[in-house]
Each structure stands twice: as C-alpha cells, then as structure tokens.
C-alpha cells in the first residue's frame, strides 16, 4: 500500500463521516432531551437537500447563503414537527416506542410528499465549485469535499460553543442530565424540547445541503445515512464531541475497510465494530428501577378476562363457537386476493406474536426480528430444496434454527434501552448481510426459487384457501402456547422484568436468563413464521428480511397493543392490509399511511387492543351482573 492511498481514502471517509456526525448529532440531541429516537431525522436531510436545491436553482444564491438558509428553514420545520405532532405524544407520557412509531409515520409521509413535490428521480445539483482538485502531497482534495469538511466541522464547533458557553446551552445540558432539578431552577422544559427539535432539524438540513452536491438530492436520500448516523451517535455515547468523533471514525473505517479489506464485508465489519463498542462501553453496570412518575417502557394494557370464574358458564363454549364460525366463514366469503393478503397478514402475525413476547411482555426492544424471520425462511426452504425434507419437519426445524441464533445473540440483552435498540438493529443487519454474502448457501442476492408448497400427509397445500387453514392452525397453536406462557409464573416473571428490573432481580428473577428465554421463544416464533412465508411465496431473497421489515413488525406490535396477544394479530392485519387497502389513493397512499401511523400514536397510544377493551369490559360487567341476579 502506498503512502497516498490511505490518506486519500481517509479523506473521502472523513467527508462522509462528517455528514454522519451532523445527522448523528441530531439523533443525540433529541435522544438526550426527550429519550426519543427520531426516525424522521433522515427526512430532515432530504428536506435540506431539496430546499437547498430550490434556493440555488431559482434564486441563484451563493452556496454559503444556501447552507445557512436551509439550516434555518429545516430548523423551523423541526420545531413545527415537535409543536404539532410530537408534543401531544410527549405530553401523554407515552413510552418510547410510541414516539418512535410516530416519527416513522412522519418519515413515511414526508418521503411520499417529496415524491409528489420533487419527483421520483434523483436531481443533481449544479456544479458549484471547480472540479479541479487541490493537490496536497499527491492527495487529491476536491473543493466540494473541503467545503463539506469545513462547514460541517464549523457547525459542530458552533454547537459545542453553544452548549458550553451560552446560558441557554448550559441550561439545556442541565435539563438533559436531571430534568426535575433543572425544572426547579426554572428551566423551561417545553422550550428546551422545541429548541432541541429546531437544532436537530437544522443539523439534518445542513447535512442535506452538504451531501446533495456530492450524491444528488432524492426523496430517499435520508434513508441511506440514517442507520449509520445513529450508529455514530451511539458509538459516541450520544454526547456532542463523542458523536462528532464517532461519525468521523465510522466514515473513515467504512471507506478504509472497503478499500483495504473487502468491499463485500465492509458493512459487516462496521456493524461488528459497533456491536463491540456497545457491548464494551455501554453495558449498564446495574439495572435501574422505576419511579412511579415514570411511564412504563411500553404502554401495555390489561387484558379483559371474559372467562373468569365469576362469568356465566356458557360464555366459553359460545366464544369458541363464534370463533369457529368466523374461521369457517372467512374463506367462504372472500376472494383469492383478499385471502392472499389475509394469509400474509396471518403469517406476519405469527412473527409479531414472537415479537410481542420480547417487546410487549419483557420490555426489550428488538429491531432485528426480520432477520430471524429470514433465518426460518432460509432454513426451511434449503432443507426442502436440498434435502427434500417434508414440511412437517422443516417447520419446527426453522423455528429451532431461529431460536438457536436468538440464543447466540442472547448476550446482546445485557444492553438496555436505546443501546439494545441499536444493538439488535446491527445484529439484524449482520444476519442480512450474511444472507447476502454466503452465496454458497443462500445463493446471495439471487435468492431461492422453486420452494415447494407444503405437503402434509400427501396433500399439497398450494391454494390460497388451503394455506389459510394451515396458517390459521399454526397461528392458533402459537397463540394458545403464547397465552399459556404469559399466563403463568414464567409470564409474570417476563412482565416483572419489563416493569422494573431492579425489583425483579431482588425477587429472585435471573434477568439475563429470563430475557434470553423470552428472546429465544420470540425468535423461534419468527422462524416458524419465516417457514410459513417461504413455502407460501415460494421465492425468497434477502431483501424481504431487511431492517425496514423489522421496523414494520415493531409497528404491528405497537399499533395492535403492547402486551396483548390479540393485539399482535390486529396489528399484523392492519399493517399488511392497510397499504393494500389504500391502493386507490395512488400517489397519496403513503402520505395517508404515514399519517395514520401518527394518528394511531396520538390518539390510540394503547393500540387497537385498547379500543376493543372498552366494549369487552362493558360486556363483562353486564354478564357479571346477570350472574349475580340469577344467584340472588
């Protein structure tokens, strides 16, 4: 390796790293002020890029002016976003996940709006700077890259100055360390939160104006820097200086790894480093308890028990009868297309049930669930294609394989909160990348095709109607098992871990083992769902098991209602059916879909299960009264 290559690579790496730092800082600020992971941060980048583009091409302003104006405008936008959407959810004392889904909704809507406003295609920036590089000891330094580095570093320096030297900045830091004490000293929390969103919007927008000349402006551009920027913030411990260094380091590592080691495995290397950093530096030493004023980690409602002893005897048989009737009527009234969507939704419901156990019951974030879904799908498909094993064997083996990998990933559960969120995300991405790169096993990006339909006792299940019965039976069985699990000493232990780790451990709960068990069972469910999926669609490739699918699964669980078994079913149905249902809206489909996600979080924080509980509770009270009257 010569003496020019490495600094040359490092220079490009630092440029993109600078962008990771800026976006990551936005993450770090909102996270520290409100505990929120803001998925819409990527869209601030996109907005900044398009606003900048508009300013340049219509008003022909100089680049530095464009930079400043875009920062101001995206800052204002960030503030509005907080004021009109997020504040309501923050005020409800909603748990983290709800906020997260709301920002996801914002992100989806903004992307769809950007398509309507600026089109689907990437738009190049006009050449602003001379393309002739500055030579520096044989290293070619582009004007644009130098500008990015300078402006990026200057913004970060300004931010650091703001936090260290100005009164507002100091009180912000105080409030983020100890909100209640700061409030006693007259720090206005509301104003602080507004300020945070303004700042992080501005940082994202700034990053957008900086990278767009390099990489074009496009509606999806925020997405590509999102995960890495968050990783940068996490590596930096969510501090200002830390995130700066984290971003620059990440950019440099990424580029150097691609240039010097392997371009196929550069992201694997990056995520492994991220995991190592998390596990070494950000493992909490002691679990924290919870005070009464704090919200729960998840907004879990209490199930309404219609089958308790004080209810009339006929309620259980009639519920069973009703259920069976609905089960049989559905295939009789719906057409093939509806059955297909329904089947997919039910398959996802199996995976969502597993996630429910992990997130809703045990309170552990997981943003890598789709990877386990994928492991199940690949296991079952490969066993069926290569070894001709029957479906009744590959199905449980798929669950076992996913559960095994879940068990291997168990140590991750020593992380907590956001660190677990990012850790599980990194793990999911690593599994995805291995699916992509272990070509000898998975055929890589080509995927596996010709996966046979399940054949049970010689009967091939190929029609959508037959599959419905297969899926509902598996789902029914898993619902039953999950219900048994949660309604037991073991299940109480899970909820205890969610509610208060400190209290759980002094009452004899082995936190790690309890979390790991939940994780293994949850991932095994995902594996089984994966097998059902693979043999239904008969074609799989790694794309179906990426990060965004994991996020979709989390959305199912939250929208359905955390800590509720029926909730997972409802959530999966809504998330799979809704986009299909909204097809008629064409371009506005995703705008509405995102808006609905936001609406759910604003107005139904407990999920749809919560909505169903109200009539059920009334029903229960009515029936109970009847019993009393009869006995009197």
């Amino acid at each position: 390796m010569d003496f020019v290559t490495i600094p040359q690579l490092a220079f490009s790496g630092l440029t993109i790293g600078c962008v990771y730092s800026l976006v990551g800082l936005g993450f770090a600020l909102t996270l520290r002020a409100t505990e929120l992971i803001n998925f819409a941060q990527g869209e601030m980048v996109m907005l900044g890029a398009f606003i900048g583009l508009t300013l340049i091409s219509f008003f022909h302003l100089p680049y530095i002016m464009v930079f400043i104006l875009s920062i101001i405008l995206t800052g204002i936008f960030g503030m509005f976003m907080e004021r009109f959407i997020l504040r309501r959810i923050l005020d409800n004392k909603s748990p983290l996940l709800n906020l997260l889904i709301a920002t996801l909704g914002i992100s989806i809507s903004l992307q769809a709006l950007a398509i309507i406003l600026w089109g689907r295609e990437p738009v190049p920036y006009p050449d602003i700077f001379s393309v002739e590089p500055v030579m520096f000891f044989g290293i070619r330094l582009q004007h644009l890259n130098l500008w990015i580095l300078c402006l990026g570093l200057a913004s970060m320096a300004a931010l650091q100055f703001f936090f260290q030297k100005t009164m507002t900045g100091i009180s912000w830091r105080a409030a983020s360390l100890d909100p209640s004490t700061a409030a006693l000293y007259g720090v206005n929390r509301q104003r602080n939160v507004s300020l945070t969103f303004a700042l992080s919007g501005a940082l994202g927008g700034g990053a957008g104006v900086l990278i767009a000349p390099l990489y074009f402006a496009s509606f999806g551009m925020g997405h590509s820097v999102l995960v890495k920027s968050f990783a940068a913030a996490a590596m930096g411990g969510f501090g200002v200086v830390g995130t700066m260094i984290g971003g620059l380091a990440l950019g440099a590592i990424e580029t150097l790894a691609a240039g010097l080691i392997s371009s196929e495995y550069k992201n694997v290397i990056m995520y492994v480093i991220l995991l190592a950093v998390l596990m070494v530096f950000f493992r909490p030493k002691t679990p924290t308890g919870r005070s009464i004023t704090e919200g729960s980690k998840v907004a879990a409602g209490r199930a309404v028990n219609l089958f308790s002893a004080d209810m009339p005897f006929w309620i259980r048989p009639s519920a069973l009868l009703l259920g069976a009737a609905v089960w049989l009527i559905i295939p009789a009234v719906f057409d093939v297309y509806t059955m297909r969507i329904l089947n997919l939704a039910l398959i996802f419901a199996v995976a969502a049930l597993g996630l429910q156990l992990i997130v809703g019951y045990t309170g552990q974030f997981s943003f890598g669930h789709a990877a386990f879904f994928g492991i199940g799908a690949y296991t079952s498909a490969l066993l069926a294609i290569q070894l001709n094993l029957p479906f009744l064997l590959t199905l449980p083996l798929a669950g076992a394989a996913a559960g095994l990998v879940g068990w291997l990933a168990g140590p991750l559960l020593r992380l907590s909160g956001h660190f677990l969120a990012i850790g599980s995300l990194a793990m999911g991405e690593i599994i995805f990348l291995l699916m992509l790169n272990w070509k000898w096993l998975t055929k890589g990006a080509y995927g596996l095709y010709g996966i046979p339909f399940p054949s049970i006792f010689g009967f091939e299940i190929s029609s959508d109607y037959a599959y419905y019965f297969l899926v509902t039976m598996v789902l029914g069985l898993i619902c039953f098992l999950v219900h048994r699990l949660t309604d037991s000493r073991f299940g109480r232990g899970l909820i205890a871990v969610r509610e208060n780790e400190l209290a759980a451990m002094v009452n004899g709960i082995n936190l790690i083992s309890q979390k790991t068990k939940a994780f293994v069972i949850g991932t095994a469910c995902a594996g089984i769902a994966g097998a059902l999926y693979a043999h239904y669609v008969t074609y799989i490739n790694p794309d179906s098991f990426q990060f965004h699918v994991s996020v979709e699964m989390v959305t199912m669980v939250v929208i359905g209602g955390l800590g509720s078994v029926p909730g997972s079913l409802i959530g999966a149905l809504v998330i799979i059916l809704l986009p299909e249902y909204l097809r008629g809206l064409a371009d506005y489909r995703l705008v509405v879909y995102g808006g609905l996600l936001i609406g759910f979080m604003m107005y139904l924080p407990g999920g749809l299960a919560d909505l169903a509980r109200y009539p059920l509770r009334i029903l229960r009270q009515r029936l109970q009264k009847n019993v009393r009257e009869v006995t009197q």
């Binding site: 919870r290 009464i292 729960s296 209490r302 037991s488 073991f490 299940g491 205890a496 002094v506 004899g508």
Partner: protein, 256 residues
C-alpha cells in the same frame, strides 16, 4: 447465632469510598437497626448485601454460607428479601401479582412447565396465589388485591413492598427506610407490623431515619458515617455514644 456477617466490606464508586471496611453481624431473630446521616452509605450496604452492586472487597456470609459475589437473584433464593428506599413496584401489575412475584424462591415452574401445564403446575400456581394473599392479609392489603399497584396510595405501596418481600418466607428481611413519607399513625402501625414480622421468626435488618422508631423497636443498632462504623450496641448505648452524637450534629449542620 449470627444470621448475617459482613467482614471488611468495601465499595468504591470511582474515587468515592461509599462503604469503607465495615464489619457487622446480625443475630438471628432480632431487629437490627442501621443508622447514619444522609449519604453515609446505608443503602449502599443493603445493595452490597443483596448483590445489586459487586463488592470492591470483603466477604458476606449468610446462614453460614459465603454469598460474596452472588448475583441479586441468587441472594434472594437463599432467603434474603428486601424493600427499597424509593419504592420499586411493578406498577402496571395488580397488587396481588406484585405479591405473587415474591414467591419466586419457593416455586419452580419455568417456560416448559407453563407450556405443558401438568397438574403440579396448576397446584403450584394456586399455592403462589395463596401465599401472596396471606402476605397481603398480613400487611392489611387484601382488600385491594385486584387494583393496579400504581393506583393505591403511597403508604399502601410501601406496605405492598413489605408484603412482596414476605411472600417468599425469607429468613432475613432488609427494610430501607420503610417509614419514609408516612404520618405518625401509619408509622405506629408499621412498628407493630415489624414486631409481628419478628414474631414470625423473621430477622429484620432496618435502615431508618426516624430515631424514635429505631430506638423503640431495635435490639441492636449499628451507626455508620462516611462508610465507616462509628458505633454499635444496644439503643441506650448508642444514644450515649459521643462519636454518634458528634456525627449526627455535624451531619445536621451540613444539611441545614
């Protein structure tokens, strides 16, 4: 007979030595008080005993068994239960479920058992329920068993923590400032409750700021300041101890 022995236990938090070579032993069947000014290290001692923090050095013996370095859940399984200075409940669970969580050490049904649900599992579940109800009855909370823990009044929440600890039939009960935030009448009731606990044969190790209460119910008292033992003995002895008086006076000066 000594139930719990602490030998030269020490805890450093970075530069700060919160617990500094403390020796202490709790006799079986007694009520033992641990007092000291704010920030003297009392809660830290409890956290060390129950395995929430690892020790920097020293050994802890419980019932003749060396439990040094045991993780918290294992310490509990050996028969040590505790409450917290800042209430730590499972707020979104019911009062009854909270108490049921105390029975972990007496029961064993795991995930597989829950799935298979053999008759013994059902019986065990009934047993847990029974134990929990008995504990709630004991502290006087059985009337609110089905309420969510977050909904009951503060004083009751404190009692619920005690009930949860008692549900597992512990040998030693650690109470960290159980009377904090209680009014006079409630404190009286609590004192009676603690006496009844002792009568059941459970040893009580108590941290408390309410001097009147401590002096009245404890047989032995250990006083610590800046993480070091500065006095030990019967209530009357401790009250007369010059070191103790000085520590409390200077402590008062600092806080005022």
């Amino acid at each position: 007979m000594t139930l719990l022995t602490l030998q030269q236990i020490t805890k450093n938090f970075g530069g700060l030595t919160a617990v500094d070579h403390i020796d202490l032993s709790v006799e079986k069947g007694t009520i033992h008080g641990l007092i000291g000014p704010n920030g003297s290290g009392k809660t830290t001692v409890f956290n060390l005993i129950t395995g929430i923090y690892p020790l920097t050095s020293g050994t802890i013996t419980f019932n003749g068994m060396d439990i040094t370095g045991y993780p918290a859940f294992k310490v509990n399984q050996k028969g040590l239960a505790r409450t917290f200075q800042e209430i730590q409940l499972f707020y979104d669970m019911t009062v009854l479920e909270n108490a049921m969580m105390g029975c972990q050490r007496l029961t064993r049904a795991g995930a597989v058992a829950a799935l298979v649900k053999l008759p013994w599992v059902t019986r065990e579940e009934a047993f847990i329920r029974e134990k929990a109800m008995a504990a709630l009855d004991f502290v006087g909370l059985s009337g609110t068993a089905e309420e969510a823990a977050r909904k009951i009044p503060y004083g009751h929440q404190r009692l619920l923590e005690v009930a949860r600890a008692l549900a597992g039939d512990p040998e030693l009960l650690l109470l960290d400032e159980p009377a904090a935030g209680m009014n006079h009448a409630e404190t009286r009731e609590l004192m009676a409750l603690i006496a009844r606990i002792r009568e059941m044969g459970i040893t009580v190790f108590l941290v408390e700021h309410n001097m009147k209460m401590v002096m009245e119910i404890c047989e032995w008292i250990t006083v610590i300041n800046y993480g070091q033992v500065i006095g030990h003995g019967k209530p009357a002895q401790v009250q007369a101890d010059e070191n103790v008086i000085n520590a409390y006076l200077s402590g008062e000066n600092i806080t005022c």
